[in-house]
């Protein structure tokens, strides 16, 4: 395993943290970004396909990012024993295959994870690599509620 693979913990599922979604924060987020009735109104949610008040799927994604970023700071703070400057995460060009597998209900405690799957040099950008991350979130019963494959640029070598 190369110093770069060790630095980014290639292949390892890393737990980023857990968050309990409160009813009020679900409504506050949804009023700004996703005011569908099952996200902003408990009574309407009970009559909806979801059966109970639940978070916008984008809220779950945004929360994954909050915990991912906190972990990224830990990654950057690690000692670096490889050649050249310490690697850094850069911007992301996007993600794919995002699935909202189950609703995140008010009161659910969601645990976020990520796994670095692979990275490759970018011919068009010397000194940069593109890393693929498998990103997941699970509820308190261990059911997966979210998964997606993210790409992120890393500055290395």
């Amino acid at each position: 395993m190369s110093p770069l693979d060790r630095f980014f913990r290639l292949g390892e599922t890393v737990t980023l943290g857990s968050h309990t979604f409160g009813s009020e924060e679900i409504k506050e987020f949804a009023r700004k970004y996703d005011p569908q009735r099952f996200h902003v109104d408990e009574a309407a949610a009970e009559r909806s396909v979801f059966g109970r008040h639940c978070a916008s799927g984008w809220h779950t994604c945004a929360m994954w990012m909050r915990y991912n970023l906190a972990h990224r700071e830990d990654t950057h703070a690690q000692p670096w024993d490889g050649p050249g400057p310490r690697p850094q995460f850069g911007p992301s060009p996007g993600f794919e295959k995002l699935k909202w597998l189950k609703p995140v209900y008010a009161g659910d405690t969601i645990t976020f994870t990520r796994r670095a799957v692979a990275h490759r040099a970018l011919a068009s950008r010397p000194g940069w690599r593109l890393m693929t991350l498998m990103c997941e979130a699970f509820n308190q019963d261990g059911d997966k509620v979210l998964e997606f494959e993210s790409a992120v640029l890393i500055q290395a070598g």
């Binding site: 700004k32 970004y33 996703d34 005011p35 569908q36 099952f38 396909v49 979801f50 916008s56 799927g57 984008w58 994604c61 945004a62 929360m63 990012m65 909050r66 970023l69 850069g90 911007p91 992301s92 060009p93 996007g94 993600f95 794919e96 295959k97 995002l98 699935k99 909202w100 997606f148």
Partner: protein
């Protein structure tokens, strides 16, 4: 629910639905980033100018959320939407900067009725967001679930 404008039958393959325009303010960029993506280029004009994004720029997740709101206001809130199982892809093509005005469109690329749930259908759309210069800032594709008009009683 029967009197909403958009039920499964109302989405036509190839049709493009315009999304309204959205002015992106510095305060909104900072509000979102401080909660979910607290990186310097999303929080501070000077740090943004020094970054490869070239200014105070919205988190990509914030861009997705602004898109979601634009889609809600354009048709989703006046529809038989039953949520979405996911997003096929999102491509963040260019930075979204404070002061930008976003517009966009949702183009129906496919639709089919559910085999397992009568009265439900799947509508696949390719969505595009553009800035005030007409440059594409984000592209995404997803499938939404909508009740048929008769099933929405």
């Amino acid at each position: 629910m029967t009197n909403v404008k958009w039920a499964f039958e109302d989405f036509e393959e190839g049709a493009s639905i315009p999304l309204g325009s959205k002015n992106v303010t510095a305060a909104e960029i900072i509000d979102f980033a401080s909660q979910f993506d607290a990186q310097p280029m999303h929080l501070d004009e000077t740090a943004g100018k020094a970054s490869i994004l070239g200014g105070l720029s919205a988190s990509g997740w914030h861009t997705c959320c602004m898109f979601m709101r634009m889609m809600c206001d354009a048709f989703l809130l006046d529809s038989t939407s039953q949520g979405s199982p996911g997003i096929d892809y999102v491509r963040w093509k260019r930075p979204v900067l404070a002061g930008d005005t976003l517009t966009g469109s949702s183009t129906v690329t496919a639709k089919r009725e559910s085999a397992s749930r009568p009265g439900l259908g799947f509508v696949t759309c390719r969505h595009e967001l553009r800035n005030q210069r007409g440059e594409v800032v984000a592209e995404l594709q997803n499938t939404g679930m909508f009740l048929k008009r008769g099933a929405a009683a």
